[in-house]
């Protein structure tokens, strides 16, 4: 079939095992493996399943290993952007925030985008592994270590153990304070339009084991076509109905995200200016300066020595550490809201939410959204811009 950029398809792995194992027809794994096999790329970066709560970012050149990693991990929270080594041509499955991280890193010369092939995955969110374990114990009444696999289907999280499976609605989990990470709840970028191929099960007709694939770039077309030519993948054009349904789901997810945004940000939104300052002073008071948030941040290109870590004197009298202030500053134009800092903060500071508060202001004022294209971040701008006040 003639595969074209800008078009949408339904595609699935020809290999039955991959089809079964993959979350929706195994297209992504098959296409990645095919790319390796036929030399379209030299490496693939995947999350290798350790257990359902832990995936280890792994760079491989073995197509078999790629196929072994088929299937999503919803209860891990890793951003792959920092693991992309683009000295050679490399492909990766990328959630929107992975992809946005990669793009922001490319702007900072940490990634050579020419060498990176991003197979984008629709994403409705992931869970924090520690909280997920707790949830398994308390809501599912299961031993976390006994969970063999998981799957999200029709709004339910299904856990499988050797005894059988148990499923609970994600809405219900979230009502009980579990479920997706906060950053995911209010993230409204669910379809990875900034990647080369956007893949997911939205729009796939009921009962079909297939992936809905939108070809976004020439590179995406190359990967797709290669997988078809190499016999790893079969496909058919997506019907208008499929396309419409996918769009509808996306819109619904966006709406939901906006509702969550309002709800989760409420405590800060309702504060007056001076109350907000108190809020921030208190929130950051718990910071121990461990630097974990900076280490995991996919946007930050710096090594251990950076302005934020080095400008740390007289902190005992500062009302907020310079470390926190500088990170807020440096991410003002570029935070992609992936939630990683919040995940790792031992003091439990709602960092991502705080960063988003700052970032959203700049993004609105300067009409710039990070991670969706190669547009210069406002901080890199050397020309005068008319600013709408």
């Amino acid at each position: 079939m003639n595969i074209g950029t800008g078009k949408c398809y339904l595609a699935w792995a020809t290999d039955e095992k991959t089809r079964e194992k993959g979350s929706s027809g195994g297209f992504v794994s098959a296409a990645l493996a095919a790319a390796l096999d036929k030399g379209v790329v030299e490496r693939v970066l995947v999350l290798k399943k350790h257990d359902v709560f832990k995936g280890i970012p792994t760079v491989t050149s073995d197509p078999k290993e790629v196929l072994d990693c088929a299937g999503a991990l919803h209860m891990t929270a890793i951003n792959l952007a920092k693991y992309v080594d683009s000295d050679v041509r490399i492909a990766l499955p990328a959630k929107p925030c992975d992809a946005r991280g990669v793009i922001e890193r490319a702007k900072r010369n940490q990634v050579n985008l020419d060498n990176v092939y991003m197979i984008g995955l629709n994403c409705a969110g992931t869970m924090h592994p520690v909280k997920a374990r707790k949830m398994v114990k308390e809501v599912y009444n299961l031993d976390p270590n006994a969970v063999l696999s998981e799957e999200i289907s029709k709004g339910k999280l299904i856990l499988k153990t050797s005894e059988g499976e148990k499923s609970i609605k994600i809405d219900e989990l979230e009502r009980q304070g579990y479920g997706r990470r906060d950053a995911c709840k209010y993230c409204d970028i669910n379809v990875p339009k900034m990647t080369d191929l956007a893949c997911g099960n939205w729009g796939v007709p009921r009962g079909r084991k297939a992936t809905f694939v939108e070809v976004l770039t020439e590179k995406g077309r190359e990967i797709f076509k290669n997988a078809v030519d190499a016999g790893y993948v079969e496909c058919e054009p997506a019907s208008d109905k499929s396309i419409e349904i996918r769009e509808k789901i996306d819109q619904a997810m966006k709406k939901l995200a906006h509702e969550w945004h309002e709800k989760l940000f409420e405590p800060i939104n309702k504060l007056s200016d001076s109350e907000r300052l108190e809020y921030y002073i208190n929130a950051f008071a718990g910071c121990t300066g461990c630097g974990a948030c900076k280490k995991v941040c996919p946007v930050c290109p710096c090594g251990d020595d950076a302005k934020c870590t080095m400008t740390e004197f007289q902190s005992e009298v500062h009302r907020i550490r310079m470390f926190n202030m500088i990170r807020l500053l440096h991410l003002m134009d570029s935070c992609i809201g992936c939630g990683r800092c919040e995940d790792v903060c031992p003091a439990g500071i709602p960092l991502t939410m705080i960063h988003m508060r700052f970032t959203e202001r700049v993004q609105k004022k300067l009409d710039y959204v990070p991670g969706i294209d190669m547009k210069k971040p406002p901080f890199f701008e050397t020309e005068l811009k008319e600013v709408q006040k």
Partner: protein, 787 residues
Amino acid sequence: MNAAGPTGGHIVRPSDGKEPKKVAWIQCVGSRTKERPYCSRVCCMYATKEAIITKEHTPDIETHIFYMDMRAYGKGFEEYYRRAEEQIGVKYVRGRPSKVSENPETGDLTIRYENLDTGEVGGLEANMLVLACAGVPTDTNKELAKILGVKLDENGFFQEKNLPLAPIETDAEGIYLAGCAQGPKDIPDSVTQASGAAAKAIMPIVEARGEEIEEVELPEEKEVKPTDEPRIGVFVCRCGVNIGRIVGVPAVVEYAKTLPNVTFVNEDIFTCSDDCRGRIKAAIEKYDLNRVVVAACSPRTHEGLFRDTCREVGLNPYLFEFVNIRDQCSWVHMNEPEEATEKAKDLLRMGVARARLLEAEEEGELSVGPECLVIGGGIAGMTAALELANMGFKIKLVEREQELGGMLRNLYKLFPTETPAEEAIAPKIRAAYEHKNIEIYTGVEIKDIKGYIGNFEVTISKKDSEDVFNISTIIVATGSQEIDATGYYGYGEYDNVVTQLQLERMLKEGTLKELKNVVIINCVGAREEEGKTYCCRFGCGTSIKNAKYIKEMYPDANVFILHRDIRTVGKKGEEYYNDVRANGVKFIRFSKDKKPLVFEEGGKLIVKVYDGLLRTDLEIEPDLVVLTTATEGAKGAGALQKMLKVPIGAGNFFHEAHVKLRPLDFATDGIYLCGCAHSPKGVVDTITQAVGAASRASIPMGVGMIKSEGITAVINPEACVNCGICMTMCPYGAIRMVDGVTEVITAVCKGCGTCVAACPTGALEQRHYQNKQIASQIKNVCRLVVE
């Protein structure tokens, strides 16, 4: 409107000191008349600027400008004019007022005028009127001309040797012209001509260049390591009574003694006096001081002096710190002696804190060899090449076409002197080929340019061979081209619609057939809303000149020039225009909203245009329509821009470093610009620029090196993550990445520190303005912790 002026920046009427509500300007007062036929060249933009500033100062003032033609011909002028009209709301009225009368009671003025666009006659009441009077030659020109033995032209400006080919020279050897001496001109054109004149003036004595420079002997510098314990000497000055009368100097002195690492403190009446500087030197030696702080006046006037004082006894000048307790303390807080004293202490504390962290810095040098690459073999490139070659520099002249000569090869005669274009280029081509210092490459492309001043590596390709050479400086003279006129006024559709360039060729080759009606349309694709917003500067002249030729060849032909403004700005331009108009060429003005139409009806070509004066549509049946099109930077400009990493703007014209003050330089050291690559222009301006650019390029090559101050940026490679942010910040191209590693080219760095502020890692530091040095000052503003 000058904030430092007598009214402190407020616009007031001379008569009663009231702020006007309505200000009018009248242009061309006393110029473009019988008596002074020339155009003063600057007033249209002056009036526009004044009107803008007036509106910015007081937004509800009404501003009206009466003009004849709006001569927004220079780079960026048209856009400025449009902004004034469309965004700021300056009102422009085309028309020459006939009478101004005053109401003796109110002092207000009534201006009677005829609007030449609509034919309406009206009166405008204004509170104040500004006259744009003709720029006239200086009174003393006559006498000076006599003394120098050079000629004046009929208007009293100095006469150049040859218009357009030698606009800087006079008839007398060794005497050259610059700026308004030769004729009215604006700042960029004056600076350009002055650069050119400087080059010309050095020519006869070029052999002796640099001979009389004396070197000063200095003692060897003593080594001061950052880890050495600081030993600071503080010298507080009373500046006679200037400081001492307000600031309690003794208290400041006592305070200084309490500050960490202060080893020696002294108070003097005039610290800058010879004997006091002697005491500073003695103290440095006696107490082994390794930092010196002077609390006195302004570093802007005295820093150099004290730096030298330190250096004279072997202390690196960068170990000196200045604290300003006069201009920014005693003089501005005359009624608050106590607070002034406290402030002086704070400032001193900040200064001492900074001094403790100062490091010895070296000033850099980079050698610049005598080789220059000139890109473009048109009149601009050839002129620049010859100029430099005559000074003894080695030139590589590169041209993409098979022949030298550029645009002028296609032209017939030049405006306004009717010099054959051939005459302008032929001698230069010959001279260039014959010159031992010029190596000519024709039919070649530039493939790559790497490096920086003194060290450019250039790769050129010719058919299938490549050639790599090193040069020190580069002059960009790539010229411009006509835009593709397809789609404008039936061009490409009707055979008898041609461009000026096509017409020039016909004139040159003598192939123009008999004509009855000719319509020339100006500003085609130029002065547009978007894209090519600029004026092409020479189009009006070209159209007038070519109209004249047609008329000369076929005196019975009707020749119409449809124009928006007539912008004949160069010397003799206005006079030429008047002649042609007097000789029967018809000028019809159209507005940008009512452009002429060109169409065919019944097999006949028809031009329809609205004549504002007659207030009616005119229909002409021409047998030739000539389009004066916009021009754009040459084809290769984009690629070249990427290689040189210099800025380029609208229409693919390159951006100079500073529109007014550095019109011939790029911000990047060692790269210069001239001719139409900079913006569209005629031959006089091109030649002037070319000589000027040569002059600019000759400076570093003549000196043989460039120097950098000890305040340049340095990268700590350990911390640098090669994000490249700094590279995008630097306006001088002083940061580059070699094999993925970022480095500062010290000799090119000017030490602004913009990159340092942007570096996220802190790997990048500015010497003498290090992060920690500035932080130490900030820390000591509030004295949270007294160290």
